[in-house]
């Protein structure tokens, strides 16, 4: 019963394992279990990971036979996330405590200094008093700021320097100098006998506080993934041996029959076997209207069953479900980099050592050329410069915005593949759109059939012919015949003539169906039908010529109805400054009719599939930034060639993996949403980068004392500490503002 899909490894927690000998024993015991491909014990966290198709029970039995205990662990994304949440909370509280204690010492000291102005050491009593304060401060440095020092030391040993390095150097210098003043006041000039214990304590307190706030704000940036995770129910109702039982979702296997009642979520991907119901897929696709599902229809995990009871067969479970893929993809995209971050990346990689050098140079300048008290000034400048610079703000400026922006996209049915795609979508100026499936409904319908004789007889012949064809238009003809309950005949010698049409023998007659080129090729004069065909094309229909035994028989027309929201979406895209060009394999007249109705000015008609890519390339040669929207399968080369490929079409698995942007909803509104979102995200990134650059480029010189001639004062290290602590909080908070982004007009209201 507790069998898991052979694809995903099973994890067990082990009891009684203590040495390498135990590991050997367990692994060899499992080696004898059939279906185990690989078994590995991790002594460190006492877990066992088994790969293969063996059942969990068999594995547990094997471990027990070797004399140890084992229990299956469900490493479920949701549980993991909850654990992480808890860790985060614990860390948050710990930071607040550290901050509170450090500030509890620092604030009274600072007030004392401000009120009495007595921070100097001039006699023994003061030496004793400040000496004890110094020891208290040391305790604060160790207990509240110890992690900065250990972190700095470890990084130092690896020839690297981090924010910890700066904090440790800054607070350490202030404390050491103050201790020197306390212990040996005589070696220093009178004016420099000043202690800075309050600065050390305050800085440690403020930076801990800043990190606490950052941890909290960060929690919110991952809200989108959390929402997606919550779409999954922990349990599923499986029908086994005619009985319905609730089992954890991780134990559902491919092929299981499952029941979903009204109001329940679909637990895994599958196909309906029994029942009919409306399913709300808005959470994944953004499609506002529930979709009717009946036998044979696909169901997607995470969507909501509205009104009927369904029985379905599981086709994809665990990490293979579309929901799991989406979550994985969003997570990946969220932490990818945007090209715009390159400069910031370069800077932050050399940042900390540079700041250390600047600090020493500034300190020496003050010592050699500054006004008295030189030593005091030198120390304040050194400490302030070290403390004010924070590589975090710079490092976080882009990832935080990308994280929120990508998550926001997922909430709106826009899946962005990575940061690069997100950035490129902002400056698109041309959007090339594939007509079928995007502007018009994917499945065309037969609209007209005109002939001199019996229309049904012709339809029967053509449908028989087309039943062999894989062309999308063929299906329209076949289903029209089926609707009229015409029975199809056998077909001999079927032949598809590329870019022309099809030909075959139906009931002993040679039947041809195709465009005018086909008739020309076959030497058949279309006669009066040309006019009729043109008239139909004017109306946006695709007309085809039919000939039987070498003579024109009539014409039939097929059309994909224009999508309801296409016109509004096109208008919206134009408003965003995009030039829209339509691509289609249909003839020019048909294409232009559709374009007219939608307000599209540029049409490329009569295209072969390979032409689409060439058109995109040509546009790019003219320095256009081209976006391409298509349904992902036959448009793949053009989608790949475009600066940003938008795969439209309810996110087929292939599209999710290959397109730059996947739109879960089959609507051009998704492209507009994506463009708006990427522009909003890039704006946010620029604000963050600007903020971080400004903060550091202004902060460091101010800390170095460039304002001294004007203000007559140096920046207090405490202020520098506060500024540093809050710079990264500002960046994270600004990124979080993106969470309130809303597409300008959600096509969903239509």
């Amino acid at each position: 019963m507790t069998e898991t899909s052979s694809m995903s490894p099973q994890t067990f927690r082990l009891q009684g394992v203590s040495c390498a000998g135990c590991v050997k024993k367990i692994e060899s015991a499992l080696g004898r279990v059939s279906g185990v491909e690989d078994a590995r014990v991790n002594l460190g966290d006492k877990t066992l990971v088994v790969q293969g198709s063996a059942t969990a029970q068999a594995c547990i039995a094997a471990v027990e036979s070797a004399g140890y205990g084992a229990e299956a662990v469900q490493v479920n994304a949701r549980v993991l996330r909850a654990q992480q949440r808890e860790e985060e909370q614990a860390h948050y509280r710990q930071l607040l405590w550290r901050s509170g204690i450090a500030l509890g010492l620092g604030v009274p000291l600072m007030i004392w200094g401000l009120v009495t102005g007595e921070m100097g050491v001039h006699n023994t009593a003061q030496q004793i008093a400040w000496g004890s304060v110094g020891l208290l401060t040391l305790a604060v440095l160790v207990f509240c700021g110890g992690h900065f020092f250990t972190g700095a030391w470890r990084a130092f040993r690896h020839h690297s320097a981090t924010m910890d390095t700066l904090v440790a150097l800054g607070t350490g210098t202030a404390w050491l100098f103050s201790m020197l003043v306390v212990l040996l006041p005589h070696v220093l000039p009178e004016s420099a006998r000043h202690v800075y214990f309050e600065a050390s304590a305050m800085i440690i307190g403020l930076i801990n506080l800043g990190q606490a706030l950052e941890v909290r704000a960060r929690g919110r940036t991952s809200a989108a993934v959390e929402k997606l995770l919550q779409l999954q129910d922990p349990n599923a109702r499986v029908i086994r041996d005619g009985e319905e039982i609730d089992i954890p979702i991780d134990q559902v296997m491919v092929g299981d029959k499952l029941r979903v009642r009204p109001g329940e979520k679909i637990p895994v991907d599958g196909r309906v076997i029994e029942g009919e119901s409306l399913v709300d897929e808005a959470m994944l696709t953004g499609e506002p209207l529930p979709v009717k599902k009946a036998g044979g229809d696909a169901l997607t995990a995470g969507t909501l069953n509205k009104n009927g009871s369904l029985v379905f067969a599981a086709e994809k479970v665990g990490a293979d479900t579309r929901l799991a893929q989406i979550i994985q993809m969003v997570k990946n995209a969220q932490s990818s980099r945007v090209p715009i971050a390159r400069l910031a990346d370069t800077i932050s990689s050399i940042f900390v050592p540079s700041v250390m050098i600047i600090a020493v140079v500034a300190a020496l300048v003050w010592y050699n050329w500054g006004p008295d008290p030189k030593i005091a000034h030198m120390l304040v400048v050194l400490t302030s410069v070290l403390i004010i610079a924070c590589p975090c703000a710079l490092g976080l400026a882009t990832p935080m915005s990308v994280m929120v922006g990508v998550g926001k996209g997922a909430e709106n049915g826009v899946l962005v593949r990575n940061g690069k795609a997100l950035q490129q979508a902002t400056d698109l100026d041309t959007l090339v759109v594939d007509k079928t499936g995007t502007l018009t409904e994917g499945a065309p319908k037969l609209t007209d059939i005109e002939c001199d004789g019996d229309a049904d007889a012709l339809l029967q012949q053509l449908a028989s012919l087309e039943s062999r064809s894989e062309h999308p238009l063929a299906e329209a003809i076949v289903s029209a015949a089926r609707e009229k309950q015409l029975s199809l005949s056998d077909v001999q010698g079927f032949e598809a003539i590329t870019a022309h049409g099809v030909r075959a023998e139906v009931d002993g007659k040679t039947v041809l169906l195709g465009n005018r080129k086909l008739m020309q090729r076959e030497g058949i004069d279309p006669g009066k039908w040309t006019e009729k065909a043109e008239a139909l094309a004017e109306q946006g229909r695709t007309a085809m010529y039919a000939a039987v035994d070498g003579a024109m028989a009539g014409i039939i027309a097929v059309a994909g109805p224009i999508r309801e929201d296409a016109q509004a979406a096109v208008a919206r895209l134009k408003k965003l400054g995009l030039r829209i060009e339509m691509l289609t394999g249909d003839n020019r007249a048909t294409a232009e009719a559709v374009a007219r109705q939608l307000g599209i000015d540029h049409v490329h008609a009569d295209l072969l599939p390979e032409d689409k890519e060439k058109i995109v390339a040509d546009l790019q040669k003219n320095h256009a930034k081209v976006g391409m929207a298509g349904d992902g399968i036959n448009d793949a080369p053009a989608l790949a060639r475009a600066d940003v490929g938008f795969a439209i079409g309810a996110g087929t698995d292939v599209a999710i993996e290959s397109a730059d942007v996947t739109l879960m909803r089959s609507s051009l509104h998704g492209v507009a949403d994506a463009v708006e979102l990427s522009r909003a995200t890039l704006r946010n990134i620029k604000q963050n980068l600007f903020g971080a650059f400004i903060y550091n480029t202004l902060g460091i010189p101010i800390a170095a004392g460039v304002l001294y001639p004007i203000t007559g004062m140096l920046l207090s290290p405490v202020i520098a500490g506060a500024a540093m602590a809050f710079s990264s909080v500002t960046v994270v908070s600004n990124a979080n503002r993106l969470r309130f982004f809303k597409p300008s007009q959600n096509g969903g209201t239509a």
């Binding site: 460190g44 990190q211 990946n332 250390m356 020493v360 710079l394 490092g395």
Partner: protein
């Protein structure tokens, strides 16, 4: 006298900084660790340990990261050239699946680039 001492100390600090953080690592790198089954990359106190990891080219690999630093810096590990990233859970081993890659050096780092490491594919 005092001023000479301070200036010399300051200049020495600058020279040492430049040498230790920028010049030295290129000369005296620790040997890169190969990926053995037991290899765990410890994420702690601002560094990956080991921070140079050797893997075979053209073969998908799994790296195990153990994050012991709760501070937000360590939360993600990114392999930008491979378009791979992973969120690391605190005090747990997180497996990161790397696709087959061509030979070369690929840097990996945390979101803010405070943690840095190099993946050597050969």
């Amino acid at each position: 006298m005092e001023s000479v001492v301070i200036n010399v100390l300051g200049l020495a600090a600058i020279v040492l900084t430049v040498w230790w953080f920028w010049l030295a690592p290129k000369g005296s790198r620790q040997p890169a660790a190969g990926v053995a089954e037991a290899l765990q990359i410890l994420v702690k106190d601002g560094v990956y340990e080991p921070d140079r990891i050797r893997i075979a080219a053209g073969k998908a690999t799994v790296l195990k990261f153990r994050r012991e630093d709760a501070s937000p810096c360590a939360e993600w590990v990114l392999f930008p050239d491979l378009e791979i990233s992973a969120q690391l859970a605190v005090d747990q081993v997180t497996e990161v699946q790397l696709p087959a890659a061509d030979a070369g050096e690929y840097p990996f780092h945390c979101q803010m680039q405070m943690y840095r490491g190099t993946l050597i594919v050969e």
